[in-house]
């Protein structure tokens, strides 16, 4: 495998973890979050600091997970107070606050970011394999959650919190759980990202990234794990595939996004579903 392929596959793995974890928050539990980049970033920074300090991979992974979920649970608490459509914008706010805060912190490298993160020692392909394994684990976990009673309760909370409460389902605890799990995984992805680039600046975790992740979830079909995985792979490869248009890359990318949604508004999951339904009828 060429170094180029390895780096692409690694990023695909990281994006799969991010998109699937966002899908748990926004797809399963209905809490629209447009700030997933912040949790990803928190994980990356924590892992980078841990790596610089101890050069221990397990510690760095742990640091990433903890940082992501701590920030996530804090935001989860905020989500208990605000209406759902307010939450979407508040999470955008969290993203901007995260970026704005890190920018000005010299202990986090400020504008300069953190460089010289020690290598994991697994080499580029070793890293890639670690990333892929963790991505698979995330997908399996997500599939399990959607089948468990937790996934069931998430759906109820996502649809109508008051009605859920009258069935004895405490919406608050579930929303916190969704945020906690989803952001812990985002933190994990952040740690992997820090291993991959060995250099991070806060610009990598901006609002645009969060929107991209939400696009993966929506295009995949909100709530469908497989759809989201497919969309994450597709949307990561797309900019690479259209590299030949060079100057017009964003133009084409934006256009594709509009087209895909216009043609398959229910996402890939719905598309596949309809296809099956049709062939079965025929």
């Amino acid at each position: 495998m060429s170094a180029y392929t390895i780096s692409i596959v690694s990023i695909i793995g990281i994006n799969v973890i991010l998109a699937v974890s966002l899908n748990m928050i926004s797809g399963f539990c209905g809490q629209i979050s447009l700030g997933h980049g912040a949790f990803f970033g928190a994980g990356a920074y924590a892992a980078a600091l841990a790596m610089v300090a101890t050069a221990s991979v397990p510690l760095a992974l742990l640091a990433g997970v903890v940082a992501g979920s701590v920030l996530g649970i804090l935001v989860g608490f905020a989500s208990l107070r605000v209406r759902s459509d307010f939450l979407a914008v508040s999470t955008i706010g969290v993203n901007f606050l995260f970026v704005g805060f890190v920018r000005k912190q010299s202990w986090l490298g400020g504008e300069m970011g953190i460089s010289g993160i020690p290598p994991t020692g697994f080499g580029a392909s070793g890293n890639m394999i670690m990333i892929l394994l963790l991505a698979c684990a995330t997908v399996v976990f997500s599939l399990y959650v959607s089948r468990s009673w937790m996934g069931f309760a998430f759906r109820a909370v996502g649809e109508d919190e008051q009605a859920a409460a009258t069935l004895g389902i405490g919406a608050g605890a579930y929303k916190l759980a969704a945020f906690g799990i989803g952001t812990a995984l985002a933190g994990l992805a952040g740690a992997l990202y820090a291993f991959f680039t060995q250099f991070i600046t806060v610009d990598a975790f901006d609002f645009i990234l969060s929107v991209m992740l939400m696009a993966m979830v929506v295009i995949g079909g909100i709530g469908s794990t497989w759809g989201v995985v497919a969309a994450a792979v597709g949307l990561t490869l797309l900019p690479e595939a259209i590299r030949f248009v060079n100057d017009y890359r964003l133009l084409v990318f934006g256009g594709m996004l509009v087209l895909v949604i216009r043609l398959a508004p229910g996402g890939l999951a719905a598309l596949v579903h309809n296809l099956f339904a049709r062939t079965r009828k025929a």
């Binding site: 926004s26 629209i32 905020a78 107070r81 605000v82 209406r83 459509d85 307010f86 979407a88 914008v89 508040s90 955008i92 706010g93 969290v94 901007f96 606050l97 970026v99 704005g100 805060f101 920018r103 000005k104 609002f207 929107v211 939400m214 696009a215 929506v218 295009i219 909100i222 100057d247 017009y248 964003l250 133009l251 990318f253 934006g254 256009g255 594709m256 996004l257 509009v258 949604i261 216009r262 508004p265 229910g266």
Partner: protein, 289 residues
């Protein structure tokens, strides 16, 4: 004087924010869509003003062209992009909207250049008045006056006119409103037309203020306006005005007093989050159960 200078900055900025976000709040109220591509409408307005002004030598003609072109563009967005997606969850049209914004921003870059466009003649930008040490520019005055007129007009429109009431009824229940004779299609067109025209005017004024329109001009709008409409209680015109002014002032003072810890964009969202924790329904939100 210093504090008054800051206040002038804050208020004029607040007025600009108000005009650019009111379209967004109107669309949200009617369709529950976060119309992110509104930022592209704002940028389009700015470009039209600059290009037409440079071609004809008249800034007024530039504004006239902008308030003709952008409403059509806004209506086109509704017809071609949102209407077919209304059946789906609101995140779906929102992502489509993001795609459109990305596309438009890059289209501006390709069509009008990375370097951006400046006014050939722009006496307005460099005209300032000095009141006892407080400086205020002609464009700032224009911003404040325009916003005052626009919002007074909008308020009267939505509370005193039948069309305005019909508009609000459609926001609440489109089908039933139609059953009483309020044409939902007309309401939506009107909505996008008004919102887009106001964004274009705001865009033009910002272009004058900066003497520069570059492809990223709409970027700030795309997220800050979102913060504003949430602060304003989503869908409320009055709330949007209040939130915009508050945000303008918070930024004006905040840049100086907490700018060392947080950048300006973050200040806006800090204000948002703090306020939401205290008043989860926004400034004016008085929602029914």
């Amino acid at each position: 004087m210093y504090y008054i200078d800051l206040a002038v900055t804050g208020v004029s900025f607040g007025c600009m924010y108000a005009m650019m976000s009111v379209g967004l709040t109107l669309v949200y109220g009617l369709l529950r869509i976060l119309h992110v591509a509104h930022a592209a409408v704002f940028a389009l307005g700015a470009y039209v003003v600059v290009l037409v002004a440079n071609a004809t030598g008249s800034i007024a003609l530039g504004f006239l062209a902008a308030v003709i072109v952008t409403p059509l563009f806004g209506i086109a967005i509704y017809r071609l992009l949102y209407e077919p997606l209304l059946r789906y969850r609101p995140d779906v049209p929102m992502i489509a909207s993001v795609g459109l914004l990305v596309l438009m921003q890059d289209a501006f870059r390709i069509m009008f250049g990375e370097q951006g466009v400046t006014f050939r003649q722009n006496a307005l930008s460099f005209t300032t008045f000095d009141f006892h040490g407080v400086t205020i520019s002609a464009v700032q005055i224009a911003l404040i006056v325009t916003a005052a007129v626009v919002f007074a007009g909008l308020h009267l429109f939505t509370t005193r006119t039948r069309t305005g009431l019909g508009w609000r009824a459609t926001v609440s229940r489109p089908k039933i409103a139609a059953s009483f004779g309020v044409d939902p299609v007309k309401v939506r067109y009107l909505n996008f037309a008004i919102g887009s025209a106001l964004a274009a005017v705001a865009g033009g004024l910002v272009a004058l203020l900066n003497n520069l329109v570059d492809p990223s001009i709409g970027f700030v709008v795309s997220y800050k306006a979102l913060a504003i409409i949430v602060l304003g209680g989503l869908g409320s015109v009055r709330g949007t005005l209040v939130a915009s002014l508050v945000l303008g002032l918070v930024e004006a003072y905040g840049t100086i007093f907490i700018g060392a810890w947080l950048d300006r964009d973050a200040i806006a969202f800090l204000a948002l989050i703090v306020l939401l924790m205290i008043r989860p329904q926004g400034f004016t939100g008085a929602r029914t159960a």
